[in-house]
Each structure stands twice: as structure tokens, then as C-alpha cells.
Homo-oligomer: 276 residues x 4
């Protein structure tokens, strides 16, 4: 069911790899809600994934860009404004990667060049997008910018490694730039702290199956899916949430406010059963 919530709005979506991607689902949903889109990802991700297919469904142009390159971002923004015939209403940042995680370097033996790269890709890229947008005056007044985060920014998860730190930095950048961009242009900047999601990126985290089982049982409404998240993001892009800014919004079926649920405790208790 569609409401035309984004009718006439124009947006850029970073990070759609394939159908599992939250960015992919958001593009579908934003398109359904009447938005005109530009999609973007790195050249590598575009080869690995199936973004061309999404472009067709959404009738959206695809412009490759490395979100760590200010030059690429400026090019993307300029071309998008040409395509749109004007400024952008909303932006989704769904980007994160840790070379330390990829290479299996544990947190107490990580490589610092990689650490900087993790921060650059997963957090500073958000700053670069906002800075370039501001420089080019690319976002309309009362526009909306969202980045995807995770509860690891507040609570340490085994093996999540330097990605937890990157998410903390990302959320801080959202606040810091939200202040600047808000006072001058009334543009709001928020992060969504989403349930662990079985995206291609998520699937790369060791032990994610067990974690997803645990959070599913802990969360009274269960984990939020990529589709659920897309729905939520659309409300944040709409004109109905104009005064929400500098927030980290948990979208997780209640997980973040749970200490212990009956279901999780019951499952945990089974672990003590003897198998004779």
C-alpha cells in the first residue's frame, strides 16, 4: 500500500548492493511512495551486486561513486541535480566496511591503517557527503538525511570489532553536522539503529546467526527486517517528521530497551540441560 508520502521528492540512495540490502528496499519503497531517485555505489559493489536491476525497477539512474572521495561525491551531487532539475530532498547513507573484520584481525591486534579506513568508509564518508552537499547547496531546505547505524555504537558486541567504534563516530557526525545544517538550512540529520539484518554485509559478521536468534527472542516485536526499515526511513524522509533531528532512532522491535525477555531466558536455560 502506498500513500504518496514522497510525491515530487528527489533523493539519492547510497549502498544498494542486492535485494537483501536495506538501501535496496528503501529505494523500492521510496519509489512506490512517489520519489524520483538516483542510486549510487562503488564500482566494485556495482559489479558484485545487481544494482542495475534496481535502477530499472525504480526508473532511476545509477551513478558510481566512492563515498570516501570528495571528488566522486561532488560529481554525483552535480549530476543528480542535473537529472532532478533541482536540489535533492533526501539522502540515505547505508555504507560500512572494516578491513580489519575482513582480514580477521581481532580488536586487540588490529592494523591502524585499516582502522582509519574503517572510519573513513563507514563514518567520514557521511561527513564528506554532507560537506559536499552544503558546499554545492545541493539539499533543499527542510530536507532529510539518514544514515544506518547499529546498537554496537553504545554496547560492545564480541567480534564486531572496530565497526562499533565506526558506528559511534557516525552517530556523532550526524549530531555535529545536524547542528550546522539545521541552523542554517533547516535540514535534519538522523541515524537509525537497526536490528541485526541478514544483508550481504551482515552475513559477513561471524556468529551473526546466533546473535540474530538471540535478538529475535529478546525483542518483543522480533527483529526488524530490511523492508520494515525501508518503511521507517520513508517516514523520516517525509514532511511529517520535520522537527526530528540529531537523533539516533532505534528500529529494533524493542531490543534496545530490553534487559531480559521470557523467551530469551527460556532458551538460555536450555543450554544447561544435560545430554546423557
Amino acid at each position: 500500500m502506498a500513500y504518496n508520502l514522497l510525491k515530487g521528492k528527489k533523493g539519492i540512495i547510497f549502498g544498494a548492493l542486492n535485494e537483501q540490502s536495506i538501501a535496496w528496499q528503501t529505494a523500492l519503497k521510496a519509489h512506490e511512495e512517489g520519489a524520483q531517485l538516483v542510486l549510487t555505489n562503488t564500482a566494485v559493489a556495482m559489479r558484485l551486486g545487481t544494482i542495475a536491476e534496481l535502477g530499472k525497477i525504480c526508473n532511476a539512474e545509477i551513478i558510481p561513486a566512492d563515498a570516501t572521495s570528495s571528488e566522486d561525491i561532488e560529481n554525483l551531487l552535480k549530476k543528480s541535480m542535473e537529472i532532478f532539475g533541482g536540489k535533492v530532498d533526501f539522502v540515505l547513507h547505508s555504507i560500512g566496511m572494516s578491513p580489519n573484520v575482513r582480514k580477521g584481525l581481532p580488536y586487540d591486534a588490529l592494523n591502524y591503517d585499516y582502522f582509519h579506513k574503517t572510519l573513513d568508509i563507514s563514518a567520514l564518508s557521511f561527513h564528506k557527503i554532507l560537506l559536499s552537499a552544503r558546499k554545492l547547496d545541493a539539499i533543499k531546505e527542510w530536507g532529510s538525511v539518514v544514515a544506518l547505524s547499529y546498537v554496537a555504537a553504545q554496547r560492545t558486541l564480541d567480534k564486531y570489532n572496530d565497526m562499533g567504534d565506526a558506528k559511534a563516530l557516525l552517530e556523532s557526525i550526524a549530531r555535529s553536522f545536524g547542528y550546522i545544517y539545521g541552523k542554517d538550512k533547516k535540514i535534519r540529520v538522523n541515524t537509525i539503529s537497526q536490528s541485526p539484518t541478514m544483508t550481504t554485509a551482515g552475513a559477513g559478521v561471524k556468529g551473526i546467526d546466533s546473535l540474530i536468534d538471540f535478538t529475535e527472542r529478546m525483542s518483543p516485536l522480533g527483529n526488524a527486517s530490511a523492508e520494515d526499515c525501508a518503511n521507517y526511513i520513508v517516514t523520516l524522509f517525509s514532511d511529517l517528521t520535520k522537527k526530528v533531528t540529531m537523533q539516533n532512532l532505534y528500529h529494533d522491535g524493542g531490543f534496545s530497551s530490553m534487559g531480559m525477555s521470557e523467551r530469551a531466558m527460556r532458551q538460555y536455560d536450555k543450554s544447561f540441560n544435560d545430554c546423557d
Copy 2:
């Protein structure tokens, strides 16, 4: 502009006194978005305010109820279900009052019967509504319940007195019941922490003008108005936010994430000007 976001949905709205009320604005907006409503307030508030007028505009029945009375609430829920011909989709709780504030008793000399009354009216009433709804199975699966809160739940404000404590309790009840109602019926329960608003209730707080000026200058997007809040609430009642629960959501133009803004600091600095 309307989107039919609440088309076919039925809701109960507590606490509309007059046009300034957030509950009033929410009723208007929910009506525009296609919802069928029942309005309620205490008999006294109904006499003091102009809720009958709102009922006409929204084509909504008005059922008086004292939200501290489980009997009244049950009556309200039963009648609402009769009117709706079925269960309720959403509920707004916008109720708060402190006899200690009214009588001008300061926090370090308050009356404990009044303190219990503050808690009963402003926080336990929310529990009573949820308990009665659950007992009568009055809310549909994936329904949405929202209560209005304030940042005083986290940060002490001079003269806000026992209302800060009441809001902290209210937010806790939202979490506690959100767990129960979520795991069994998938019903979500959230609070919105709204900017200080010049409602009739707000106007009763001493020094609210100065505070509103300060928060206006601190918040990059300025204070959120009652109309803004109504828009936001509608997104939380919609089907697009199904996995958001047990959250306290700041709707305040960024205030809650600000340490110090340029505008507020500049104004503050003027206080040191000598007047010769």
C-alpha cells in the same frame, strides 16, 4: 496535504482541551489522514475547554472519562469498540497534572498525597489504560500507543517539580508495558519527548516564556509546535513504523542533542552588558 496514512484506522485520543492542545492537533491531523476517532477528557476539562467543537470538526464522539479510574476507562473502551464496530488501532495519552505545581509547593516541601496524585494522573493513568485495553482485548494486533513526555524525565528543570519524576515514571511504564503488550499482541508503545509547548498546561509552568526562548535558540530547527507534533504522532500510528517500540522519541528540533548553540550563547552573552 493528506496521505490517507490512517485510512480505516480507529483511535482514541485523551487530553484535548482546546486548540493549543497537542491532542487537539493530533485529532485534527488523524482525522485528515482518514482515521475515525473517539475523543475523551475529564468532565471538568470538558467544561473548561472546547472539545465539543473538535468533536464536530472530526465527526468524533466524545466520551468523558477520568483516566485515573479503571472503571471509566473500561467504559470508554467498551463504548469506543461499539462505536467503531471493532477494536482500536491507536491511542494517544496526553495527560499530565501536578497538584504540587498548582498549589505552588516547591519540590523540597511538597505534599506526598499530592505527589501520589501527580504520579497517578500523569503516569499510572497510562498503565491503567493499557491494562484495561489488554483485559478487554481492545487494541488490534500491531496497534500503536503513544504518550507525551518531556526531557525533564532525563534532565532536571527548575520549578518543573514532581512533573519531571512523573514523566520518568511514564516513560518507564511505556517500556514495561511495551514489552508485555509487544510479545503477546505485537502492539507497540512509545513516548514522544516534545519541545516545551505553549499549551494551556504548559502556560501554567512558571517561567515557561524564558525557557521556550532558550530552547528555541538552542535547537537548530527551533522548537517543535503542537502541529509538528501531531504530524509526527501520525507516523507513529501508521503502518510504516511497526517495529518501533519501547522508545522515548525526542521531537524537539534537536534540543536534546545540543550542548550549546551559537544563537543561545550569543543571547546569553548579552546578559553581561552593562547598562549605564
Copy 3:
């Protein structure tokens, strides 16, 4: 090992029942650190427990008081000042009880008179102590007041019932009164959010064994014991923490900042083992 951290200081300790009590351990430790003490509990708790023994060890007088009775509290404070020959330096509030939990009434079918009683005993009692102390000017400038809380104030725990709400209210009262008492008398007011502890009160919570096992595995330093907590409280009573106020301080081996630990996940995973 003792440091004379509280040498010459005088303090009142509420809530010591028996050796398991955090209040008991705090009394022992404060005594070791050179403080002179008055112990107090309700008449019933004094019969059930062994506080007389503690009085002997600590060379402390015991004055019965019901912490929900302003009259009892005033009597206690006056007598304490007589005994001390002057004002009090520190106070520990370690009091909590829920008739709803005791009677086995679940959160969605609780009794509201009991709910008010839970709040009165577990939270408003703290306000009453502070109000009476202020009225009698019973606490020295730069004195320190501590109440014991639990993470249930922020995150819902199955079966913890209205005690979670009571703890949220308690923490709010600590902030609210901390403002008042701080600005006028430089007295600091804080809460400690302690690991689940196998006290007599804790043992009454259903399923506490499993919970304690889980938090032990989640917390990198393991759960904090009553003795650990006593040590921490002593630092908050000392002159070394004069500028810490209105805080809720987690004393839990790291639990509150954990999303998932290796140990807890490994144990959880065992629950899926088939027993053939």
C-alpha cells in the same frame, strides 16, 4: 585494607537485613574506613534479620524507622544528630519492595494500591528522607547521599514487574533532589545501578539464578558482589568525589555497556544442542 577514607564522618545506613545485604556490607566497610554509623530498618525487618549483630560489630546504634513515614524519619534524623553530636555526612538508601511481586500479580494485572505502595516504599521513601533532612538541616555541606538502583530502570526485565518503574522513579528523584540540595547546600545525590545480587530481596525474584548466570557471562569483569558495591559506595561517601552528583552510576562489571559477549553467546549456543 583500610584507608581512613571516612575518618570522622558520620552516616546513616538504611536497609541492612543480614550479611547478604549491600547495606550490611556497606556498614562494615564504612566502619572500617573510620565512620561512625547509625543503622536503621523497619521493625519487621529488624525481627526477620540480624541487624543487632551488625550494630555490635560496627559499634552503631540501631533506630527503627519506617522509611515511608516522615515522622519516623524525622525522629531518626534527630536522634542520629544527638548521637553524632552534629550533622550527618552521608546516607545510604537501600530499600525496595513490591507487594505486586510478593503476591505474584503480573504487570498486566497488578493492583494499583500495591503499585502506589511499591513506589512509596522503593522511591518516595528516598524523597522523604531528603526532604526531612533538608527541613532539619541534618546533612553537612558537601555531604553525600546514595541510593541503590538497578538497570531495570532503563531496560525491561521479564518478571521484574513494577520494580523497574520504581527504580526509574527513584533515579529521577535522585536527580531532582540533587539539583535542589546541590545548589543550596552542595550536597550530592547519586544512585548506583548494581549487578543483580543474591541478597534476600534479590533471591525473591523468580528466575534470578538464570539471570545472574547470564549477566555473569555477559560482564567482562563478572557480576559485582555486595562487598564490591560497599567498596564503591565508600568512594562516593568520601571527599574525593565531591563534584559527582545527579548521576546513575553503573557498578556491574561492564554489563550495561555490553551488547553480546563471547562467553554468553557460547553458552546460549549450547541451548540448540540436540539431546538424542
Copy 4:
């Protein structure tokens, strides 16, 4: 007054420049409390400041080290262990610098090489110290590591620029490493979020005078000084706080829990006086 709280303990203190430094005051206090110290700073800071004097007072050796250089840190740790004849009990990290702030580049026009440098100096240096310590097994079991932070990690302050982000990252690193180091070696890692302090670093922040006036009036106990902070740090290095880890501890006279104080509001109101 001294308590021998750190008797027999050995510690390394990073970041003492001159008497204004929190690190300087901490060294003095830790020395008074019986600790043996090694002091360290960059070669540049050693020339600019007067650390040699502090070394004499505390009878401490001074080993220059650039905290962004793993090599320097390892050298420092090895030499310290030689001097101490064994492992270290505690470490203080009091390091922060932003080239963007220094060069006056605003947040929406900052230089990304500088941004990485800000993060490297102010946050990753903490990770490097912990990683090297762990590699060399340089910290004793139940040791304590503290880094200094600021509320800008949670709330945006005008002109604080990328230092707010750096502090958010620093606090996240404390949590992340606190998990690792805690589970294996029982070493605790915390940050202290200190009042704005008129250190040499603080004095470099534009408009800090006004901010300090505001926070002084907002905080019921007034701002915490460098000496106050030193006292608090000593409690965290002591054996009395063994189960506190992965926490960010506000040491700010109550500021972080304040929404609005009477004193600040009164001063703010003066800004509206007409000067005719």
C-alpha cells in the same frame, strides 16, 4: 589529606603540560596517595610546558613519547616496567588536539587529513596504548585505565568542531577495549566526562569563558576543577572501584543531568534588559 589509596601502585600519566593540566594535578594527587609514577608527553609539549618541574615534585621519571606512535608507546611501556621493576597498575590518557580547530577550519569546511589526525591524536592514541600494553602484558590484573572525555561526545557544542566526534570515538574505544581487556585480564577501562576546564588546551577553544560561566550556573555544585578531577581519578585507580568498567562517568557538578537551573535562567533573562 592523603589516604595511601594508591600505596605501592605504579602508574603512567600521559598529557601533563603545566599546572593547569588535569594530568598534572592527577600526578600530584597520585603521588600524594603513594603511587610511583612515570610521566610522559610529546617532545614538543615537554618544551612548551614545565613537566620537568612536575617530575621533581613527584620524584617521577619523564619519558617522551608521541602517543600516536606505537613504537614510542612500546618504548615507554618497556622503560616504565624497568623503572617500576614490574607491571603497571594504572594509566591516565589526557590527550586531545584538533588541527582543524587550531587552523580555524569550521566543521563544514574541515580538512580530512586533519580530521584523521584529530582522531588519531585524541582517540586512536588510546587504542594504541591499550594494544601495546596488552601485547607487552604491561598492565597488572585488576589494573585501571582512564581517559578524559567531554560531554561534547553526546551533545553538540558550537565551535567544538571535530573534537566532539573524537571524544565520541574515544568513549567507544574505551568500551570496546574494556570488554577485551576485562574478560581476559580483569583490567577496567573508563572515561571521565569532565566539566569544561581552563587548561591550556581548554583555553584554546573560542568562547570558552562564556561557556564556563554558563555551565557554572547550570551545575548545582558548580564546575569541577582540575584538582577535583584528580581526586576523582584517584578513586578510579584505587582498589575500591574494581567492578566499574566500560563506563563514561560524568564529573561535572551535575551539569549533564540539568535541563535548566534557576541561576542560569536568571542570568539568561538579563540578556533581554533594555539599556536605554
